[in-house]
C-alpha cells in the first residue's frame, strides 16, 4: 500500500538524445513539479501517513470554495491537480514545501503512472490482434467477427476475461523500470528512457522504485 515518494508531472512528448556514452536513446520528456505539499497526513491526525501534493496553478473561478479554503492552509495558491502519496513512515516534508525534480537523479529507476490514450470502442482484431476471417472464398458477413467464444454444455457459459470487442485505452497504466536519462532542475524537466502512458500534455505521476 505504501508508495515511494513521487512527483506529479505533464508529459511533453518524445525525442531522441545521445547518452553519455554516445548511444542514441529514445526518451520521454516530462515536465514535473514544482509540487507544493498541500496537506500532511499522519497516523495521529488521519490514521495513516501520506502527503498530498498539487500541480498546475488554477484560477479562482475554477476552484470550489471548500478547496480554496484547503489550499489557503498551504499558502501556495490554487491548483488544478491533487494527488495523495501514502508513505510508510511519517512524512519529513512540511506543509507548503515544494517537491521538485531534484529529488531524482540520472541513472535512477522510476515508475510512471498515467492514463493511457483512449481508443474508444474497438473490435477484437484491433484490440486483441485477432486474425479475423477470410475476405473471399464464400466468407459472408463475418470478415471481422469474433468467432467462437467457448464450448457448449460444459462449461455452459463464457469464461470471464474472454477477449472481446469493447472499450480500449483511457485507463490508468503504470510503466515500471524506467531509467532516468537526465534531470534538468532549471526547466523542471525529467528525461525518461522509453515511453510512458498517456497522451501529450497528459498528467503523470513519477515515483521512485
Amino acid at each position: 500500500m505504501a508508495e515511494k515518494m513521487g512527483i506529479l508531472g505533464r508529459k511533453l512528448g518524445m525525442t531522441r538524445v545521445f547518452a553519455g556514452d554516445g548511444a542514441a536513446v529514445a526518451v520521454t520528456v516530462i515536465e514535473a513539479g514544482p509540487c507544493p505539499v498541500t496537506q500532511v497526513k499522519t497516523v495521529q491526525t488521519d490514521g495513516y501517513n501520506a502527503l498530498q501534493i498539487a500541480l498546475t496553478a488554477a484560477r479562482e473561478k475554477h476552484v470550489t470554495k471548500p478547496l480554496q479554503g484547503h489550499f489557503a492552509k498551504a499558502g501556495k495558491g490554487l491548483f488544478r491537480h491533487l494527488h495523495e502519496i501514502r508513505l510508510n513512515g511519517e512524512p519529513e516534508q512540511q506543509l507548503g514545501q515544494e517537491l521538485t525534480v531534484a529529488m531524482f537523479a540520472a541513472g535512477e529507476v522510476v515508475k510512471v503512472t498515467g492514463k493511457s490514450v483512449g481508443k474508444g470502442y474497438q473490435g477484437r482484431m484491433r484490440r486483441w490482434n485477432f486474425a479475423g476471417s477470410k475476405d473471399t472464398h464464400g466468407c459472408e458477413k463475418v470478415h471481422r467477427n469474433n468467432g467462437s467464444v467457448g464450448n457448449n454444455t460444459f462449461p455452459g457459459h463464457v469464461f470471464k476475461g474472454r477477449k472481446m470487442a469493447g472499450h480500449w485505452g483511457n485507463e490508468t497504466v503504470t510503466e515500471t523500470g524506467l531509467l532516468i536519462v537526465d534531470v534538468r532542475p532549471e526547466d523542471n524537466v525529467i528525461l525518461v528512457k522509453g515511453s510512458v502512458p498517456g497522451p501529450k500534455n497528459g498528467l503523470v505521476l513519477i515515483r521512485k522504485q
Partner: protein, 115 residues
Amino acid sequence: MDIIRKIEQENMRMDMPAFRSGDTVKVHLRIVEGEKERIQVFQGNVIRIKRGTTNATFTVRKVSDGVGVERIFPLNSPFIDHVELVTQGRVRRSRLYYLRALKGKAARIKPRGRF
C-alpha cells in the same frame, strides 16, 4: 514543445559540413576498443540524407573489393569525430538508390561545377 526543441538543440552538432546527396565524404569514426580509442575512416558517396533534428541520418555507400557497402550514420552522433567533404557531385535526385544497380564506370558521379 519549446523545451523539447531546446533539448534537441543541445544534442545536435553544428560542426557538420554542408554536404549533399552525391557528394563524396570521409567519415572519421571514433572506435573504442576496450581502453583504447582510434579513428576509422569510411569514405564513399552520400546516397541519402534523412533530415531531422536528433534523429537525422545519412547513408554513405562505397564499393569495397567489388562488394557494395552502405553505412547509415546518425548525423549528430558523438561517435563521429568529423566529416570531411572530399568532392561535390552533380546528381539530379536526392536518393541515389540507382547506384546500387550500377557498377564500375557507370556508377561514377560527375563533379559539380560552378556556372
